[in-house]
């Protein structure tokens, strides 16, 4: 007899709510991975997170754990404050590319460099979603956005920033990996990477950073399927997947 696997709502998912995310957006998948891991590690009473500024600003409506709101870009500093008071609690950040790589770049670099024992999840979809599709530090060359209508021009805006590679130059962080949600097989790998980031914190190994290449069909002007294809065809070549740092 074959084993039946029941696909059910994670316990830590807020009961009876549906997300406000657009069809084909990666946030829902990333949130689900987090909830599954909170359940698997039995962390609901220990987990604390902070909602960022961006499309996931209301993620506290979906994940049923202790939450505090962080100002734009400041989640790693807020997480530092929480974790330094409550080292036995589980603290993770969740930020988009505008939040983390633009306005909050100082906070993520220094939290990483202090080796804060937190798990940082970075959702990179190469655009500002919440504000309506403006250019992000991770917007690709030639990619159109509402503030680079002819496509990103490196002469004007420089080149897209690779956060994993930048953070991997630091001595202190213990684990840095880039994953994507573009296909089911990659989602499994993404979950494994985030799980490792969770385990590292529980083992007090210090700072873990998982970059997740995600989608924004609405602001990219692509149907969901095309958006996921675009991640693999266009984003992954510039943002190679893989482990950038791992202190075992």
């Amino acid at each position: 007899m074959s084993e039946t696997k029941v696909y059910s709502r994670p316990e830590s998912w807020m009961e009876g709510v549906h997300t406000h995310y657009c069809p084909g957006c990666g946030h829902g998948i990333a949130h689900r991975i987090i909830c599954e891991l909170i359940d698997e590690f039995d962390l609901q009473d220990k987990a604390i997170s902070m909602s960022p500024v961006g499309c996931s600003a209301m993620m506290y409506d979906y994940i049923n754990i202790d939450y505090v709101e962080a100002p734009h870009g400041r989640a790693p500093a807020v997480a530092t404050g929480i974790k330094r008071v409550l080292p036995e609690n589980f603290v993770f950040t969740y930020q988009g590319d505008g939040d983390l790589a633009s306005i909050g770049i100082a906070e993520i670099i220094h939290a990483a460099n202090r080796g804060e024992n937190i798990t940082a999840i970075f959702i990179n979809n190469a655009i500002y979603g919440m504000t309506g599709g403006q250019m992000a530090p991770t917007t690709l060359i030639g990619q159109k956005a509402t503030t680079c209508p002819l496509g990103r021009d490196p002469k004007l805006a420089g080149y897209p920033m690779r956060m994993c590679e930048m953070l991997a130059t630091l001595e202190t962080p213990s684990y840095i990996e880039r994953v994507t949600l573009a296909q089911p097989k990659y989602i499994k790998k993404a979950k494994a990477a985030i799980k490792k980031g969770f385990q590292n914190q529980l083992d007090k190994k210090g700072f873990s950073f998982i970059e997740v290449l995600s989608t924004c069909p609405t602001n990219w002007g692509k149907p969901p399927v095309k958006a996921f294809e675009w991640v693999l065809d266009t984003m992954v070549p510039y943002y190679p997947l893989g482990v950038y740092k791992d202190f075992e």
Partner: protein, 351 residues
């Protein structure tokens, strides 16, 4: 504890530790560096944590995170640093989190100077950050008062779940005076009911600490709730000192170091037969309007003395209605009015 001779910044830091401060996050800026230096040396001895943030912006957000756990957290800075913290302070107040902030004021605007000033009265009392929020602002004029206000500040911060700012100036920070610092048991109230990290204690119920309400009716309701708190502060928490006001013909209004200088000028003037008194607001928000009811019929003039360009004068005018002429005397930019200058100004007014 017996009286010891201490520098203002260090007395403030030790008073905080003796009141149960466990966490300090800050960024270096003159003239308050001895506070973070003292904290970095002594907090770990008390089981606490000191972290130097990468900026004032990061530091206030570390304070936000720690405050959300209901611990006793503190930061200190000086004027331009407080400007950088203003965004975070607005979030802390909007999310109703308790903490103690210290501003050892220097001259502005912009980079200004590093010498003592009271140039941040308006920033401290009228906002600084965005939105309808208030800090509780306490202005000591002696180091002993600074010690007492820092310790009382913790109780007030938790009572109202609101940030409390100790507004000192460079003189207060850098001078030495004998102080007595006792252990103070801070009443943190029912922190488990709202703070992060008490999921089980709340019966498997999470907490959500936030300032964002996208539904206008909910945001208005949140603001009305905050305003009720500020009204309660106005009702219950005003602090002031009256000096020789009973028969005064001229009443000086002054706080902090400028009040201290004014006090000496008043004693000289009294010796010479001039009837001068002083109202010294200690709480700048809530502003002690009721203190001005003590002004006697003999008074013909009010003089606002500050180390800025007269930032408190509007509050003094509100407090006195249009009953008296109100003028300003002071210096700024790192200069303080001298005792002689204040005496001379009073004599000029009294004729």
């Amino acid at each position: 504890m017996a009286k010891v001779l201490m520098k203002g910044t260090e007395a403030i830091a030790e008073a905080a530790i003796q009141a149960g401060c466990t966490h300090f996050f800050g960024y270096p800026i003159t003239p308050q560096n001895e506070i973070p230096e003292y904290m970095s040396a002594h907090l770990p001895e008390h089981g606490g944590v000191y972290i130097q943030g990468e900026s004032e912006v990061a530091s206030i957000n570390m304070v936000l995170g720690a405050a959300a756990t209901g611990c006793q957290v503190m930061t200190s800075s000086s004027s331009p640093g407080i400007s950088l913290m203003s965004e975070g302070i607005s979030y802390v107040a909007g999310s109703e989190l308790p903490c103690v902030l210290v501003n050892v004021m220097r001259g502005g605007p912009g980079l200004g100077g590093i010498l003592p000033s009271q140039a941040d009265y308006l920033q401290a009392t009228k906002g600084g950050g965005n939105g309808d929020f208030k800090l509780m602002v306490l202005a000591p004029s002696t180091l002993q008062e600074a010690v007492d206000l820092v310790q009382a500040g913790w109780d007030l911060a938790f009572k109202y779940r609101n940030p409390v700012m100790i507004l000192a100036d460079g003189f207060m920070g850098q001078m030495m005076e004998p102080v007595e610092i006792s252990e103070h048991k801070t009443d943190r109230g029912d922190v488990e009911s709202w703070a992060l990290g008490n999921f089980r204690e709340r019966g498997n119920k999470r907490t959500l600490l936030k300032s964002m309400y996208l539904t206008p009716e909910l945001l208005e309701a949140h603001n009305i709730k905050l305003q009720k708190k500020y009204d309660a502060m106005q009702q219950n928490e005003t602090r002031f000192e009256l000096l020789d006001v009973e028969d005064a013909e001229l009443v000086i209004v002054s706080y902090g170091t400028s009040a201290r200088i004014s006090k000496t000028a008043i004693s000289h003037l009294r010796e010479q037969g001039y009837k001068v008194g002083m109202i010294r607001p200690i709480s700048l928000f809530p502003f002690p309007y009721e203190a001005f009811e003590s002004i006697p019929a003999s008074t013909s003039h009010i003089l606002d003395v500050e180390m800025n360009m007269g930032q408190m004068i509007d509050d003094v005018k509100i407090a006195t209605g249009s009953k008296y002429p109100v003028s300003f005397f002071g210096h700024c930019g790192g200069l303080a009015p001298s005792v002689e200058e204040i005496e001379e100004e009073c004599k000029k007014i009294l004729g």
